[in-house]
Symmetry: C2
Subunit: 342 residues, 2 copies
């Protein structure tokens, strides 16, 4: 039987552990796997694009376990009452190929995206960072805020969203948790005093939600929303003033902010920073960008973190997904109560 964590149990897990507790634990899983980067099978995600959005499969394996995530991105969904992004994922045993664990990943993706941003931000933002400017306050915003508080103690948020109701929602969700959230009337105001700028908007277009003149020296830009072909958030000029850190260059050049620039634009693979093969931030004035697109290895980490944390608890149920006849060559035995016709 395959272990299963459905939506209600995922919500219960988050309530039990707390987002910040999960963040601290998940960052350890991420760091462990990013450190083993070279051991993993890595391919750009497999995308099926339509005018409505995209459906993607994101597989990877470390040679012992295999994972994949199904995820969609449909920017017009919220206007129709649906989530922009929904996801689910699977772990499998490489040794025999059997799926071992299935989980909802809409919430888990929100957690892993934020945890990845925090893992990177902790190493690239100035250590004295206190204030985050956030452009976009949709589904991912609370998770980013909690991740950066868990990793760096950030509690001051200056927020701008084109939808005032989305800013109200962010205040409503975060202020009771001790954040100081200021809703701004422009992105200029949201980033004016920021040590860290998080861009996380949903529109599938080459937008400039952050322009070059808004970016001051020393800032760390956590660029989350530019994550598929034709979807970017930063004015290209910013990239030329900055050091750009990526997950998997082959995928980021297709999907990230760097899709706007030449193919050989220099980037730093973040796993090399983790393993001391590349420097992170080198000066107070340097502008660092995490060009986050979300890579399969982070889903692998998140699924294993969830599985290990819920093992043996009532948060896991079981589903019968794998046919197991007594004689493995006799699959037909499962159905051979058919009536004879002879």
């Amino acid at each position: 039987m395959t272990q299963f964590v459905d939506v209600p149990n995922m919500a219960r897990w988050i309530q039990r552990e707390g987002v910040e507790g999960i963040m601290r634990n998940m960052v350890k899983y991420l760091e462990n796997d990013f450190t083993r980067w070279e051991k993993f099978d890595k391919i750009p995600r497999v995308a099926s694009h339509t005018p409505f959005g995209v459906i993607e499969l994101m597989p990877t394996s470390d040679g012992e376990e295999y994972s994949f995530k199904y995820v969609n991105g449909h920017p017009f969904n919220p206007a129709r009452g649906y989530q922009t992004v929904t996801a689910f994922g699977v772990l499998a045993d490489v040794d025999n190929g059997y799926p071992t664990f299935l989980a909802e990943m809409t919430l888990l993706t929100a957690l892993r995206t934020a945890a990845t941003s925090a893992m990177v931000g902790k190493r690239l933002a100035r250590p004295d960072s206190e204030r985050m400017g956030m452009i976009g306050s949709g589904s991912q915003a609370e998770f980013q805020a909690l991740a950066f508080r868990a990793a760096m103690g950030i509690e001051d948020l200056d927020v701008y969203d084109v939808d005032p109701a989305a800013m109200d929602k962010l205040k409503r969700n975060l202020e009771p948790l001790g954040f100081r959230v200021t809703a701004m009337s422009s992105s200029d105001e949201a980033v004016a005093n920021a040590d860290i700028i998080t861009t996380c908007t949903a529109d599938k277009a080459q937008n400039t939600v952050l322009s070059d003149k808004q970016v001051k020296p020393g800032v760390h830009i956590n660029a989350v929303g530019g994550d598929c072909p034709g979807k970017t958030e930063l004015e290209a000029a910013i990239l030329y003033r900055s050091t750009v850190f990526v997950e998997f260059p082959e995928q980021t050049r297709i999907e990230g902010e760097i899709q706007q620039v030449e193919e050989d634009f220099p980037v730093v693979e973040f796993w090399k920073v983790l393993t001391d093969q590349a420097p992170g931030r080198t000066s107070e004035e340097e502008i660092t960008i995490f060009d986050s697109v979300g890579f399969a290895i982070a889903d692998f980490s998140a699924l294993r973190c969830l599985r290990d944390s819920t093992n043996g608890t009532e948060l896991q149920t079981y589903i019968d997904l794998v046919a197991e006849p007594e004689d493995p060559k006799d699959l037909f035995s499962l159905v051979n109560s058919l009536k004879p016709v002879g």
Copy 2:
């Protein structure tokens, strides 16, 4: 909520409808989708190979629905009590990207592989075919036999397998259903009087389970087991005497019998036979080969056939796989019963 057909309900469905009844219905779905071949997104499956076997993802879409299948192939599994092939699959709504239907596909893949062979065999084998030679009597064998009886009335089977117990199993499963099954002591004997030869063995190697001198004019070869890189069953010389029909050439050249021959070896895409854009069998003496590897569109057809046939019955349950907050921009609302810390 996502509709779900698990293993026990899949077995119940097959018992309720009968394999042959399902075959007749599923062939209609396959013919409908193969006829619309040009409308589909088509990519070779995405494979993760290890020394133990392979794990694959097989996505496709007709622009309205999307499907993918997870499937493994682990030839050493039966010796350890596991299935060689297990699978599950998903249908999703392209319009909003939500997964709508999840099903076990170990049994369903056995059905769709056999149904595809039958759809093709019905058009390529001589119409007067009466006797099938089968090399390999593993998990897929009963399904192939029932598919060819449903499509062409074949009831005489001459079988050879290196494992005598597997032949006993086939006789035990099929004779009560009215088949005349003869277990042979060599592949020579199994194919000597065959109008149709089905090869379906599991060993992941470049084998010759069928050699050139065994193949007489006029036969149709249903070559099922050669379906991944390094796994073939036919002596290459057979290919040069035959007309080879394939599902999706880009995938078959990597995975099928034709991986043994030059890259521009001529093949006929079967969907063109269905749509009268290419001839099928052109003479009594022609040797036809269906170089079956299994393509995503057949899984799409099989999933839709199963879904439609079980809709509104107790064979479907529901699983909570997609987070649906009341406000789609407020994913955090699902977890915000967190205790305040302020």
